[in-house]
């Protein structure tokens, strides 16, 4: 492999880290907020698919990508609200509900999205951070999804809000000790429903970035497990929004390896390279989890580490 190909490859992976990582970022932030309140929403995989479809449909029908982004967020919030309400029923486990939402979200998206497979929708604009360079490779690698800075700002807002605001404290209290929250007169279920719904809205933005930026179209294979990987990322990021950002970029880079190799003409083992993010997620889970103790930083009410 010559040095030039190596450089191209590196550029493609760095650019891909942001491009592929943006949906991971939003979903993991949404899941982070949900889990802080003491519930797991495995259904964010379904939320991601459904909101990607809704966002694409909104942008296509209205002609504005930002209407699509808003619609994606709202539809994500609606599905997540369903999760929140179901889990508030007695004897309904959040894991099982998440599985149900995964199936429901995908089913609804495939059904309603059938007429959207052919057309083109207006895309979210890119921010050209690479304008200083003459090389088209650098330019395309540094053309950044306009939603990405929004995600970074959101990570900061969440980190600050959870630590410093009254609302953040209530959410964390519901997640760490539902008894304490109840004693102070807060409805634990109410807080969790609100946090899950808000988390669904954030995850929905990730769906919009899938269908309206990269890959930038709607089809039934658009998301295959990114939502689930993002849920696992939150464990790796130990429930810190800033670390979610780092983890999302890392996984974006891993996810970009397959396409990057293909772009420089290496296509053998294409499927294996595409499986790298899953294998990496599993490896990280194995490394961070432990049967003896709960993962550091985990909300106490959360059943994620057995």
């Amino acid at each position: 492999m010559s040095a030039e190909i190596g450089l191209d490859l590196l550029l493609a992976i760095v650019g891909g880290a942001v491009r592929v990582g943006t949906p991971f970022l939003f979903v993991s932030l949404g899941e982070c907020l949900t889990e802080k309140s003491g519930r797991i929403n495995l259904g964010l995989e379904g939320v991601l698919v459904f909101s990607a479809m809704a966002g694409f449909g909104g942008a296509y029908l209205s002609g504005s990508p930002w209407v699509g982004v808003l619609l994606a967020g709202l539809s994500g919030a609606a599905l997540a609200l369903l999760h929140g309400l179901l889990c508030s029923l007695k004897r309904v486990s959040d894991i099982a509900t998440g599985i149900a939402l995964m199936l429901l979200g995908a089913g609804l998206a495939f059904y309603l999205g059938k007429p959207l497979i052919q057309p083109q929708a207006p895309q979210i604009p890119a921010i050209a951070l690479g304008a200083w360079s003459a090389s088209p490779g650098v330019q395309s690698a540094l053309a950044i999804n306009a939603l990405f800075p929004v995600g970074v700002a959101l990570a900061g807002l969440l980190a600050w809000g959870l630590a410093n605001t009254r609302w953040g404290l209530v959410v964390r209290m519901a997640g760490d000790s539902s008894d304490a929250a109840r004693a102070l007169g807060y409805s634990v279920n109410g807080v969790r429903i609100a946090a899950t719904t808000a988390g669904g809205f954030i995850a929905g933005l990730g769906g919009a970035s899938l269908s309206l930026y990269y890959p930038g179209s709607w089809n039934e294979g658009l998301s295959s497990g990114q939502g689930l990987i993002a849920v696992a990322l939150v464990i790796f990021a130990r429930w810190s929004p800033w670390r979610c950002l780092g983890a999302a970029l890392l996984f974006g880079g891993a996810g970009a390896i397959g396409p990057a190799l293909q772009s420089v003409g290496i296509s053998g083992g294409y499927y294996l390279f595409n499986a790298v993010p899953y294998a990496l997620t599993l490896a990280i889970l194995v490394a961070t989890c432990s049967p003896q103790r709960a993962v550091k930083g985990a909300p106490m009410e959360l059943g994620v580490s057995t």
């Binding site: 599985i99 089913g107 059938k114 497990g225 689930l228 990987i229 499986a275 889970l285 994620v304 057995t306």
Partner: protein, 371 residues
């Protein structure tokens, strides 16, 4: 509060899932009505496509066979307290193992060969899900997430092998492995005298599924190790305190469940597709999750539920042909059913209390308070 009577629990076990399914069908009717279709027509077509005539019965039974096995892949670990949903991955690996064994052993043939290719598929599936169980027991990794991730990895491996090292050069448009030898395939139960009977050309996979469900039910209900497994599922701490080999039982349940899903994939290859290709990845593992939840993870309840959802899947193509509903309409119905099944859980133990009026009761006065 109403007093629970002895017939309440079994009646609820039947009424709650049935009510949830009716609610799901009703909501599905509303859903297609918004799309401009007649709900009544859709319901009629669903029934016709699933159980309307001999042909649709054959179709439904054919589809129910793998669902029984993939449902067991969820049910058995669930009885040990685990939520494992990686059946799809175990299924595709089972398909790969079945199609792949003749590559390694070129002289497999006949009935023994059939058993060998099925066993190869089952073993691969068993190992795959047992891995998720092992990661949970020894590393504390959430088994729901790990089994699903393993599923995606399995699908990637499957595609890699089918389109790469194991590809049959003769398969041009649709990359496939070399077709199984004629003698290794699984035939129809009725042989070649298909006819118009309900069984028609339904293959032996149906019998395999039924036997597996029956055996799993017998094992859980009547064997010591099956009972121990249910104790582990009920309370893992208590199980450990009375000295049950928790780790081994959990691994066993995962391996058996994964083996069932792997077997499902192997049967799909040996009886339906003849070679491993992407047609095997049809979401049977995901539908199996729903089947198991509706059956409340009870092996004996799985076959009828699998038949019902196999029927819905069969009716899906009729809905598509007749009134142009997207093929995902069955997925929507499944999603609705799943949501209602979970919501119905909240009513368990309270269903009959709902209908009882609180009549004013004659209060017996305490002896001292009379006078």
């Amino acid at each position: 509060m109403s007093t629970p009577r002895s017939w309440h629990a079994p009646a609820e076990a039947l009424l709650l899932p049935a009510g949830a399914l009716v609610a799901a069908l009703a909501l599905f009717g509303l859903f297609v009505w918004f799309g401009g279709h007649s709900p009544v027509q859709v319901w009629v077509l669903l029934f016709q496509g699933a159980f309307g005539d001999a042909f649709s019965w054959q179709n439904s039974l054919q589809r129910a066979a793998p669902l029984m096995l993939t449902a067991l892949a969820v049910a058995l670990p669930a009885r040990a307290g685990l939520t494992v949903i990686g059946g799809e991955g175990a299924l595709v690996l089972g398909a790969l193992g079945c199609a792949g064994l003749p590559y390694i052993l070129s002289d497999v043939s006949g009935t023994a060969g059939s058993v060998a290719v099925l066993a190869a598929g089952a073993l691969l599936g068993a190992g795959w899900i047992a891995l998720a169980g092992a990661l949970r027991q020894w590393r504390g990794v959430n088994e729901t997430i790990s089994s699903l991730l393993l599923g995606y990895i399995a699908i990637a491996l499957f595609k890699h092998f089918v389109e790469g090292p194991m590809r049959d050069p003769a398969s041009l448009n649709k990359p496939s492995t070399r077709p199984l030898a004629e003698s290794l395939r699984i035939g129809a139960i009725m042989g070649n005298s298909a006819g118009d009977s309900l069984l028609g050309d339904v293959h032996w996979g149906l019998v395999i599924g039924l036997v597996a469900c029956l055996a799993a039910g017998l094992w859980l209900s009547f064997s010591a190790s099956g009972f121990a497994l249910r104790v582990v599922g009920g309370n893992a701490r208590a199980a450990r305190l009375v000295g049950l080999p928790t780790d081994r039982l959990i691994l066993l349940s995962c391996a058996l469940g994964g083996g069932c899903a792997g077997l499902a994939g192997a049967v799909e290859v040996a009886a339906v597709h003849q070679s491993a290709n992407t047609a095997v990845i049809a979401g049977l593992g995901y539908t199996g999750i729903l089947v198991s939840f509706v059956a409340r993870h009870k092996p004996w309840a799985i076959p009828p539920v699998a038949l019902l959802f196999g029927g819905f899947a069969a009716a899906g193509s009729l809905l598509q042909r007749r009134i142009g509903l997207p093929d995902a309409s069955v997925l929507v119905l499944q999603g609705f059913a799943f949501v209602f099944i979970l919501a119905a859980e909240a009513l368990r133990g309270r269903l009959f209390g709902l209908f009882e009026f609180s009549l004013p009761r004659r209060v017996k006065l305490l002896p001292g308070a009379a006078a």
